[in-house]
Amino acid sequence: LETFVGHQVLRVRTSNEEQVKQLQLLESLEHLQLDFWINPSASAVPVDVRIPAASVQSVKAFLESHGIEYSILIEDLQDVLDQEKQDMARAAQR
């Protein structure tokens, strides 16, 4: 079973087309193994991206170096998954 310990989900807000292009570049960097929940398209639309633990620092550094604003949507994805699993187990028992 694949675990997601340390995976974070960031919401990235771009303010111009140049920043959107930077995010599209980030999307193409396969070694980071990013999972875009909402892909970069237009500056008005926020981008949500799941980042494996090993890539979190690199991605944040990339965003900060380009002055791109972001916030953390999910601090640790595995915590949320564990909660979901518990809920399902409780529901099944019920």
Binding site: E2, F36, N39, A42, V45, D48, I74, M88
Partner: protein, 307 residues
């Protein structure tokens, strides 16, 4: 007597969902479970057909879960199936609808992916087909339709979550729906449920030009979005896929629209919190109940505007 104890307010395995389809079909004479194909891993693709009679009546299609990790869609589809079945004969709109049209509902459009989300990787989005020459599996079934296939917004890389596949309709899950829609030949509306980000979209995705029916689709979309908002205040953005979210080739509703289904809509259901594909089960019933009036609004419009 009803009473399997199926809890519409929690998430279920594929086995439990399929058992509930059997139950609904046995409980209501106008509901039938039909198999329209099987997945790559040979799981049946089941559709509930709601029909009160007639022959090849004009029909409405509804599907959920083509992206397997979007669990609230499969869960909502089951609630909606039960709602349609139980409201026939008591609710005037549903009764009128089913007295004149058939409704087909595919609650789990990507069963292999769905099982995989339960057993191996909760974040899995694609099908589970083996890609020749690649170590990676799966195709994004919402980039695999024969409309702007391989265009912008779809990846050529088999390891990508938005991989469009080796060719249009390469995925049997997609091809089964295509064959069914074509062989039926009388679908008037196609509604596909996705989740996350609260959008109600219509064609096009592969190009950023307005469809011929833009004015009507936009107006109907806004009306449906207002219906959603009326329950819990959930706000949906409305518009063509391309300008509302992003340009994407090979999407479902672009294909249906190109094939004559005027009322083609794709919905991205709620995430009012910050959970996305991990929307807690306490949100299932609110999500389903707020989505229902929007779907009914569209379906009644379809009934009242034959073409």
């Amino acid at each position: 007597q009803r009473g399997t104890g199926f809890d519409f307010g929690t998430y279920h395995t594929l086995e439990d969902i399929y058992a509930e389809l059997d139950h609904l079909a046995s409980e209501y004479s106008f509901v039938e479970k039909i198999q329209i194909g099987q997945s790559y891993e040979k799981r049946p693709l089941y559709v509930l057909k709601f029909s009160t009679g007639g022959s090849n009546r004009p029909a409405i299609w509804l599907d959920a879960g083509i992206h397997s990790r979007e669990w609230v869609t499969q869960a909502s589809a089951l609630w909606i199936a039960n709602k349609i079945a139980s409201d026939y004969g008591t609710d005037a709109s549903v009764t009128s609808l089913l007295d004149h049209m058939d409704l087909f509902l595919l609650p789990v459009a990507n069963p292999d992916g769905f099982v995989y989300t339960h057993t191996s990787n909760r974040m899995w989005r694609k099908t589970r087909s083996k890609i020749p020459g690649s170590v990676c599996y799966g195709v994004d079934p919402n980039r695999n339709w024969d409309a702007g296939f391989g265009g912008p917004g779809a990846s050529k890389n088999p390891c990508s979550d938005s991989y469009h596949g080796p060719s249009a309709n390469s995925e049997v899950e997609v091809r089964s729906v295509v064959d069914f829609i074509k062989s039926h030949g009388n679908f008037k509306a196609f509604l596909t449920l996705h989740s996350y980000s609260q959008l109600l979209m219509y064609p096009y995705g592969y190009k950023c030009t307005r469809p011929a029916d833009y004015a009507e689709l936009e107006s109907l979309g806004r009306s449906a979005a207002n219906a959603i908002k009326s329950l819990y205040g959930t706000t949906f953005q409305v518009g063509p896929i391309c300008t509302t979210i992003y340009m994407a080739g090979g999407t479902t509703i672009d294909w249906t629209y190109a094939n004559g289904v005027k009322y083609s809509f794709s919905l991205e259901l709620r995430d009012t919190g910050r959970y996305a594909f991990l929307l807690p089960s306490s949100h299932i019933l609110p999500t389903a109940t707020e989505t229902w009036p929007a779907l009914l609004d569209i379906m009644v419009h379809v009934l009242e505007h034959p073409y």
